[in-house]
């Protein structure tokens, strides 16, 4: 099997020390391959968002190892971590986190320009990413002129622009209505199928159902994981997709 996009090995996270310490995560082993979306579900406070920040190198775990594309994050200094995030990891948040004074295209190309890409190459990659989420015709629009669903699609384009292949999404449909949320999940799924990989933190089962695997966290531990199997009986027998 090829090098996983993301690997968490015995990851633990503890806040505080001694009797006052709180364990947010404990003994987490998790791999994400290219073309794979893993949904993480669990009650509030179960450690879902902590897991995401550790996976993206925003927080260092108190135990265990994280590798992104085969690189051990513990070996990187702050500058190296920032570079790894710009090049390899795309975050998608509930509230989109687009820069309001930049156009859709400028938002998408921002991580590339911060990484030293030349303008023409960055713009070309930005258009490719926007095209992939069917929004290239709105490249010059500002976030305020886009609907919530369109803004989230821009955020997905930003998450996969250039060489970025690891998408870390935290409740990406939380601020969207049901139909728009479904459209965003469809776009996210398409990017995964095109060779990205990622983690989707969600409390919504309907959106977790777009993942290949669903992992449940309870009190900082993985208690169950389900993998997407070969199609079986999709509706009742006689259904046209059976």
């Amino acid at each position: 099997m090829s090098t996983p996009l993301l690997r968490l090995d015995g990851v633990a996270m503890q806040y505080g020390k001694g009797e006052a310490s709180v364990t947010a995560l404990s003994g987490i082993d998790l791999e994400v391959q290219r073309g794979e979306l893993v949904a993480v579900m669990g009650a509030s406070g179960s450690g879902k968002s902590t897991l995401l920040t550790i996976a993206g190198g925003l927080t260092a775990p108190t135990a265990g190892e994280v590798t992104v594309g085969g690189i051990f994050l513990s070996t990187l200094a702050a500058k190296g971590l920032a570079q790894m995030r710009r090049r390899s990891v795309g975050f998608v948040f509930q509230d989109f986190n687009l820069v309001p004074s930049l156009t859709a295209l400028e938002n998408v190309t921002l991580p590339l320009e911060l990484d030293g890409w030349r303008g023409i190459a960055a713009r070309s990659a930005g258009h490719d990413a926007l095209r992939a989420v069917e929004l290239d015709d709105r490249a010059d629009a500002y976030p305020d002129d886009l609907s919530g669903g369109q803004q989230q699609r821009v955020a997905i384009a930003r998450a996969v622009v250039g060489e970025r292949r690891l998408i870390l999404a935290d409740e990406p449909t939380g601020a969207l209505d049901s139909t728009t949320g479904e459209l965003v999940m469809r776009m996210l799924r398409r990017r995964i199928d095109a060779g990205a990989g990622g983690i989707l933190v969600t409390h919504d089962s309907r959106h977790a159902a777009w993942a290949d695997r669903i992992v449940f966290l309870r009190d900082g531990r993985i208690v169950d994981g389900t993998r997407r199997e070969a199609p079986e009986q999709l509706l009742v027998s006689g259904g046209r997709h059976v």
Partner: protein, 200 residues
């Protein structure tokens, strides 16, 4: 019963013979509720008995066409304007299972819930993939089929939300000491109706 009413509503579009009616029902429901032609004719017989359809002339191939009556049209209008009555939670197999399990000693209720949750999520993923195969409906048949898939998705989603809610309720009840086994009541239940007080 929705099959009977659906067949009647289709006949409101024009006369049909049995096989034709089955085909019309199939294309409107994506084949998700397969009916045999015997069921179709049985339903047509009952509709005819109730005065909602009338058996018309047969064609040269011997196919008998059924036509809706005025009373049948009224029945269709009434069906479309009335809510569908749902099964109550008290008769729901899963709700009964969890309610009874909560009164038994030595049952890991979290595990009961997780087993159900895993199965429901697997079904939800299959249904989502089915939906993913039709990006945008391109025909009335696609649209009808997607409506049925969405209905199943939302039903399973509702079950999952109920499981989450029940997990929280059970945890709070356990903390309050309310979630505990219910032993068999050894007092013999009295048979018959309770005796009424004698009135003077």
């Amino acid at each position: 019963m929705s099959v009977r009413q659906s067949l009647l509503a289709i006949l409101d579009q024009g006369p049909c013979y049995g096989y034709q009616l089955r085909a019309e029902f199939d294309r409107r429901t994506g084949g998700t509720w397969p009916l045999n032609v015997g069921q179709i004719y049985q339903t047509l017989d009952r509709l005819e008995r109730d005065g909602l359809v009338a058996k018309g002339e047969s064609d040269r191939e011997g196919r008998a066409y059924y036509e809706i009556t005025d009373a049948g049209r009224e029945a269709v209008a009434s069906w479309l304007s009335s809510p569908v009555e749902r099964q109550t939670a008290a008769r729901d197999e899963l709700a009964i299972k969890l309610a009874v399990a909560a009164t038994l000693p030595g049952v890991d209720l979290a595990s009961v819930i997780q087993v159900q949750r895993t199965a429901a999520l697997a079904l939800l993923r299959d249904l989502t993939r089915t939906k993913d195969s039709i990006e945008e409906p391109e025909s009335p048949e696609d649209l009808a089929y997607l409506l049925l898939v969405d209905a199943q998705i939302f039903q399973v989603d509702g079950e999952l939300r109920w499981l989450d809610h029940s997990e929280g309720r059970l945890a709070r009840a356990a903390a309050a000491g309310v979630a505990r086994p219910l032993p068999i009541n050894t007092e013999v239940p009295k048979r018959g109706r309770p005796a009424k007080a004698v009135q003077s």
